[in-house]
Amino acid sequence: MKNRNKRKYFLMQFKKEIPFTIFNLVVFSLLYILPLAFSNQYNIIDSADSGISTYYHYFNLSTNYGFIVGALAIYAVIVPVKALFFLTKKKYIDSYYSLPIERKDITFIQIIVNILCVLIPFTIVFFSGSLVTLIFYHKIIYIYYIILYLILIVCFILYFMYNAFFFSRANKVLDGIVTVIFANFIFLLLMASIVEGFNLSKYKVIEVLNIKGSELNYLSLPFMPFIRYGNYFNEMIVSKYDYHDYVLRMNNQTIIKEEILNYDSWFAEYRTPFNPIYLIFLGILGIVAIILFVVLFNKRKPEQSEEIGTSCFGLKVLSPICFSLLTILLSIETKLVISWASFIIVIIGYLGITLLELRTFKFPLYKILMLVGMFTLTFVSLFYYYL
């Protein structure tokens, strides 16, 4: 009975989401197939054959999947909100939780169905697009498309669950959306404060992975793998054309043929090496989020929906942390202990978020004291920084 209900519920939910899946198919097609179809880059190779210097053309050769990969990252932020929206409405809770199916099953079916609604059209469009590219660029290294696809799928699921976890910690839709935004930038603020505070930007902070201090800022953005690996694999897929370009340029400049043999070393040097750190960082965030999601889900009280959030992973905690870090950063950037601009931005921002969180202008004393505490902390840390 239990499994039959789950299976039937899954199928029913999936059927209900077919229009959403078709919509996503259209969106992905518009973002990938169309730019591909109207791309003028196919002609560039011909112009190269005519002996005209085409260095920059070749250098910019693209598979055109940038938009679709970007869209996938955006979907990983929006779709968790859609999937778990029911947690933030009392009447949805009434209807869903009274059904003869476990709460966790309802939630996981919602998550799985919504992930499929994105990944199925993405897969169709991604591989259709890659075949179109293959027709025009027959020398592309196709295996990298498959590797990229697998990496993107893993990144999408991890990033989706990261956002799903933070949204599930809120009791109201708007609170959930703001919590997700904070969660996406909290590590950036933290890393940037550390990098700026300890002046790490010029040092290699992780030798093994060749990570510079300045890179830490990008690394700490959970959506960065989509950008970094997207760019990396784009170069790998079209690398044979770069080789062709290399050979042409070598010939044009009448450099001896043996140098062409140095292509491998040129390629290794020229290419940005594959850096797994982005995947590792997102992997850690995603796995911790999944574990916390499962552990804390059973502790979530159904009656809390539409109420003021109390979670330590919600606005109550994220807001003061983010605004404290922002104050420190703004103050470092402006070279002032506490600049008036940052002071005003932080106060307005913090009070605005507090208003959103509490839905009243009657702020409890601890919220005001927290603001004072934030500035005291900023002042003390900056005092030591400039000392």
Binding site: M1, K2, N5, K8, Y9, M12, K16, F86, K89, K91, Y92, I93, D94, S95, Y96, Y97, S98, L99, P100, I101, E102, K301, P302, E303
Partner: protein, 300 residues
Amino acid sequence: MIKITNLSKSFGTKQVLNNLNLTIKDNSIFGLIGINGAGKSTLLRLLSSVYDADEGDIYYDDESHKYLNVRQDIFFLADNPHSEICKTIDEVLEFYSVFYEVDKEKFYQYLNEFNFDKQALSSKSNINKFSKGMQRQVYLCIALSIAPKYLLLDEAFDGLDPLARLTFKKIVISLMETNNITIIISSHSLRELEDICDCYGLLHNGSIESSGDIETSLNQYHKYQIAFSEEFNESKLKHLNIVSYEKVGRVIQIVCVGDEEQIEASLKSLKPIIMDKLSIDFEELFILKVMKEGYLKDEK
């Protein structure tokens, strides 16, 4: 049989249900009454596993309500169902068919009995555009066509017009007789509840203040309208167990608890010029009960 033992539920610092004990017999219609905020909806949500109890247990036929096979026999219709989840009647039917055996023929038959707008029955009609009463009718018909062993209805009459209320009561009574189901209805429409409920439970201060058979409870109260030729002093009625005393001019209305014959004999001994026995209904009984708890003091 539904057995609730030592049930407690609080929201933050607010204790909504406190050590509540209640037994509801099978094949009955139980009216759950109480003032606003008494905890009726919370109790129904606990009975349907929407909420988790802080303490205490709920048993359906000696089995915990947490088991899925038990929950398969329970259908809860909230006061404000989720019409956004299912946009059309077909979708509603499909949604509930996943979990329950919905008798679609019965569903349409019940809608007909409600004189439901034929045009609105179109498979593409958006439920969200229906009036509140029409939405209510659709969900009531779903609940009735599922005919679960235990049917929990929150604010069942809310939004229904008098004709629809009448139809609903007829269907509920016939369903209870034919399908041997137990229905718990919370409502403020006490006159409607009186028509269909066998028993009731008055929720107050987080527990069941009084419960039992409606007829028996009503028989315990006796209402009289009396008038005297001369100015009447209330103290003369001191020996009677009066729960309500109202005086308009020379006409006095009293509600007493106790043996009817004794009360009547006692009143006659005061030689009233008029003495009529009036009937007391469930709504008055409710008012008397809540007055006893200190509400409506000013009006008293």
